[in-house]
């Protein structure tokens, strides 16, 4: 009976998280177009619904009813599996994120390592999508994107090692609680190098500007998902935005304090401690997503060799130095 109860609670949590994240993904696309539009001195979507608020619904309906075209010489089983791998790995990462105190679907002791596992597995969706489409653009885009992903995984992992050293645990809830105990409140202040490396690596891991050469329209048609149409394309899109939300959530949890605010702020303004933790978490995630859109609207794209050079020659040594300094400080100070 106890077992059935636990299963039911987990099922309810999964439904809630799934629903809320899908809703966020839909409106993340809407807000991206609005915000980038405003930054370019134009309105974004304004037609569908008041101020364009029903635009995501219109997009989903359009994608759902598009014809499903498959290239004649494509490798069918792999062609079908590739979007599934992308979406499944993106969604599985949501199961270890603690949204507020006590609400996490799977409170495992290796939460941070699980996120690295998921990042490693999501490379396959892209390589297989590129290869199974049996077309030059897709293949090149897929290989480039996969090489970019595995290069920046290392820098991201090392920047998270710094956080793990400061918190003493791989459990994400414990990391947030350790930040609350720390006098500065957020690990972004002592770990500024690690935070910088993590932010740049997060941009590269989600194939977002300025690292979006694999899906740049002017260079590679549409990169690895050129041959995908209709609902399969929607899957890739969904996977990309869920990955963006996951990276924002990880940055909020590991570097910005998660559902807590620094103690010096609560001491200065006592009314802040009555705000529920989920609000702080959402504020931090939304701020990070706004940063994603801001960077996309502002910076030009990196060339592929510059991109790889940054990952290996700049970010990885910086992350190493960060880990060394953190370990030194923790051990002897």
């Amino acid at each position: 009976m106890d077992f059935v109860m636990t299963l039911a609670i987990i099922a309810i949590k999964i439904t809630v998280v799934f629903g809320i994240v899908l809703f966020h993904v839909a409106y993340a696309t809407y807000f991206e177009r609005k915000i980038i539009g405003r930054m370019q001195a134009r309105y974004g979507p304004m037609e569908v619904g008041p101020h364009g608020l029903l635009q995501p619904v219109a997009d989903m309906i359009k994608l759902f009813f598009k014809e499903d075209i498959i290239p004649a010489s494509a490798d069918r089983p792999l062609f079908y599996i590739a979007p599934a791998i992308v979406v499944i790995s993106a969604m599985t990462a949501l199961s270890v994120l603690p949204f507020f105190d006590g609400f996490v679907i799977a409170d495992i002791n290796i939460g941070l390592l699980f996120l690295l596992v998921i990042t490693s597995l999501s490379v396959y969706g892209i390589v297989i999508a590129g290869w199974s489409s049996n077309s030059k653009y897709s293949f090149l885009g897929g290989l480039r994107s996969a090489a970019q992903l595995i290069s920046y995984e290392i820098a991201m992992g090392l920047s998270l090692v710094g956080v793990m050293l400061m918190a003493g645990s791989l459990n994400l809830s414990d990391i947030v609680r350790a930040q609350h105990q720390h006098p500065l409140g957020m690990f972004a202040f002592p770990q500024f190098l690690g935070f910088f490396v993590f932010v740049v690596a997060a941009f590269a891991e989600t194939n977002r500007a300025p690292f979006d050469l694999p899906e740049a329209e002017s260079e590679l048609v549409a990169g690895y998902f050129t041959e995908y149409s209709g609902f399969r394309f929607a899957f890739f899109f969904l996977g990309e935005y869920v990955a963006m939300l996951t990276m924002s959530a990880v940055a909020a949890l590991c570097f910005l304090g998660g559902w807590t605010i620094p103690m010096f702020m609560t001491n200065a303004m006592p009314f802040l401690s009555y705000v529920p933790g989920i609000i702080w978490f959402l504020v931090k995630v939304y701020a990070f997503m706004f940063f994603y859109y801001w960077i996309r609207a502002t910076l030009p794209r990196y060339r592929y060799d510059q991109l790889m050079a940054i990952g290996w020659k700049v970010l990885m040594p910086l992350a190493f130095v960060n880990v060394l300094i953190t370990a030194f400080v923790k051990r002897w100070l």
Binding site: D75, P77, L78, I81, I108, N109, I110, L113, F114, L116, V117, T119, S120, L121, V123, Y124, V127, I128, W131, F139, L143, A146, A147, I150, E153, S169, L170, N171
Partner: protein, 170 residues
């Protein structure tokens, strides 16, 4: 009953997947079956209370080594041409040798005797996390092999670059 069912599922899937992986004509399909196999082996490690090793298995084997295989197969366009058939012509004899080896190992395993228990009981590992216990053992008793492992990983990195870069006469 339930643990035995879980183990039965993992064992059956691991056997079937490994057989599928080595008998595919299309190399990329074989690599994909192997990916699924490694994820199942990682699951089996979780079943044995070794969560850190399970994560390392998937990150290193499934996420790095297999990606390396996939890149080499895709970039070099390695295909199984029809001139050489999938299996060597004498595969029945070799299969018989492998089966005989398996029978021999299984007969010997019946006589396995477990040595006296060490001090890292499962409750101890679960109270302090597995990562911490593994780290304690690794960095207290096996520091020297760990340093040598760093060298073992460093030298092949240089060797791979030297061997694979075009334009060198090495």
């Amino acid at each position: 009953m339930l643990p035995k069912l879980f183990f039965g599922y993992f064992a059956a899937m691991i056997t079937i997947l490994s057989l599928l992986a080595i008998t595919r004509k299309n190399l990329v399909h074989g690599i994909m079956w192997m990916l699924l196999l490694f994820v199942h082996i990682g699951g089996l490690y979780l079943f044995l209370n070794a969560e850190f090793i399970a994560a390392i298995q998937i990150i290193v084997y499934a996420g790095a080594i297999l990606v390396l295989f996939l890149f080499v197969v895709l970039l070099l366009n390695v295909k199984e041409e029809f001139k050489g058939r999938r299996f060597i012509s004498s595969w029945q004899g070799r299969g018989f040798v492998a089966a005989a080896l398996l029978l021999g190992i299984m007969l010997v395993l019946q006589y396995a005797v477990i040595a006296p228990h060490g001090k890292y009981s499962i409750e101890y590992i679960q109270s302090e996390t597995h990562t911490k216990v593994l780290g304690t053992v690794l960095f207290n008793e096996y520091v020297f092999p760990f340093m040598i492992l760093a060298l073992v990983l460093f030298v092949p990195m240089i060797a791979a670059v030297v061997l694979a870069v075009k334009g060198r006469k090495a």
